[in-house]
């Protein structure tokens, strides 16, 4: 039977696919800045590179809360977001951000000005504070992807590779930014290690992205619809040329052929652009499934394609 109704129905009273419209560009910026900042902080922490840690905390500690609060319908009550860490990834993430920023600031004050010693806190305590910030940052890097993967509404999101992509992209951004920020202050050996790590992570990012697309396409008609939007539909130009080509392929080639600061900086900028575009497109291409997918068989309706 031929379906005469169009599949994408917007807000009309018709059966079909509807776009996700609640998490918008503001949330995409909040997600992006949290992951980039936390990724940079983690990479810099393990390199013991204070400027990188400072920039990471600044990015995650200012842009993430600002844009997340801008998205909230009732921002003056946003403190309530921490009340359900037993069930909600949003609560867990809010606490993790606070842990990362709080412990991170104290740790950096100790590293920069010897705060711990000044107020009588021993090195063991300050080390624990530092690792508290690391734990917080690790949660921040993955929790947004986990919150998305937890939502069964959108096949494109309900994918175990989505939180993995959050983490991989975060560490890729962190290592590339550390290469740029630490080009004069990090040792040559560490810079070489960072460059190798960035190359490996870019390859992993590409594989994870491919996995997300393949799984979504085969999991449900809604997933296939979203993938079609990304590969052949209205978002295909952005996905192919910005996310994949400029965001992954070009930075990979730049890192492989050159170690020059300009090439590395360009690779970082392009990668970040591709990452941000990926974040936005994940929100834009997600669609609600029509409710008749299971009813169709019982009441003789053709599936919406």
């Amino acid at each position: 039977m031929m379906q005469t109704s169009k599949p994408l129905v917007g807000n009309s009273f018709k059966l079909g696919y509807r776009f996700q419209r609640y998490w918008d560009t503001s949330m995409a910026i909040a997600f992006f800045s949290a992951e980039v900042g936390a990724g940079l902080f983690l990479v810099s922490f393990f390199l013991d590179h204070v400027p990188g840690m400072i920039v990471g905390l600044l990015v995650a500690g200012t842009l993430k809360p600002y844009f997340h609060l801008a998205h909230m319908g009732v921002p003056q009550k946003s403190w309530r977001a921490i009340l359900r860490p037993d069930r909600s990834w949003i609560s867990r993430g809010a606490l993790a951000v606070a842990l990362m920023i709080g412990c991170g600031v104290v740790y950096l004050l100790e590293r920069t000005y010897g705060l711990g010693s000044a107020i009588g806190l021993g090195p063991a305590v300050m080390t624990a504070v530092g690792y508290g910030a690391v734990i917080g940052a690790l949660v921040v890097v993955f929790y947004q992807g986990l919150a998305m993967a937890h939502s069964e509404s959108f096949t494109l999101w309900a994918n175990p590779l989505v939180p993995l992509s959050s983490g991989c992209y975060a560490f890729t951004a962190g290592s590339l930014l550390a290469l740029v920020i630490g080009s004069q202050s990090i040792s040559a050996e560490q810079l070489g290690m960072l460059r190798g790590l960035s190359i490996i992570l870019l390859l992993i990012d590409a594989c994870v992205l491919a996995g997300i697309v393949v799984i979504a396409r085969n999991k449900s008609p809604g997933g296939a619809f979203s993938v079609n939007l990304l590969l052949n539909g209205e978002y295909s130009s952005l996905f192919r040329y910005v996310v994949i080509f400029l965001g992954l392929l070009v930075p990979l080639v730049l890192l492989l052929v050159s170690q020059h600061f300009v090439a590395v900086s360009l690779a970082a900028l392009l990668m970040l652009s591709g990452f941000f575009c990926y974040r936005v497109l994940l929100f834009k291409a997600a669609v609600f499934e029509p409710i008749t997918h299971d009813l169709a068989g019982s009441i003789g309706l053709p599936r919406i394609s």
């Binding site: 009273f13 319908g73 009732v74 946003s78 009340l83 949003i90 409710i291 299971d294």
Partner: protein, 204 residues
Amino acid sequence: MARMGMVFDLKACIGCNACVVACKQENSVPDGVFFTRTLSYEYGEYPGVKRVYIPTICNQCEDAPCEKVCPSGATYTRADGIVMVDRDKCIGCSSCAVACPYDMRTMLDPSVLEKGLFGTGELTPFERDGYGRYTAGTAVKCDFCSQRVDAGLRPACVETCPTNARIFGDLDDANSAPSALIRKRNGRQPLPEKGTKPKVYYVD
């Protein structure tokens, strides 16, 4: 305790949308917001084109994903199974809206409560009286007209339906109208693969 649910008879629904209007009136639902919709679907080739009408509503899921993801505890389930939103606790994060597989939640934009139905910025007496139950920026949805259920009445949409396409009652009561209908005509839940255990069923 009761487990309130609903059955939609797809053979009876004529797509008049009287249910939508009744809901709007009973709950002072603002412009552009719908707690229930009757969706149409056309299929077939000329001259055999057909159209079917499918009512949709919050499914008051037993395993409600909106309740699980809510970080502030604003979304909760009553003892009778009706899923509610406490507007005083809601922070408007829209996690519930993206968690609902059925797209039956709406985030209330402040401008909707301010500009009114006629877009003049001046609310009608009906709107002034009704909008007080809403807080801008929070999540809103169908709650089976809980105020009517508490008074022993049926939801407004059920009461209004001219063809008895909406059947409301206690799913734990084997003799209730919805329970009997589900048994007799093989009631199906929408998108059961999502694992939400909706308390709204469809029969054809």
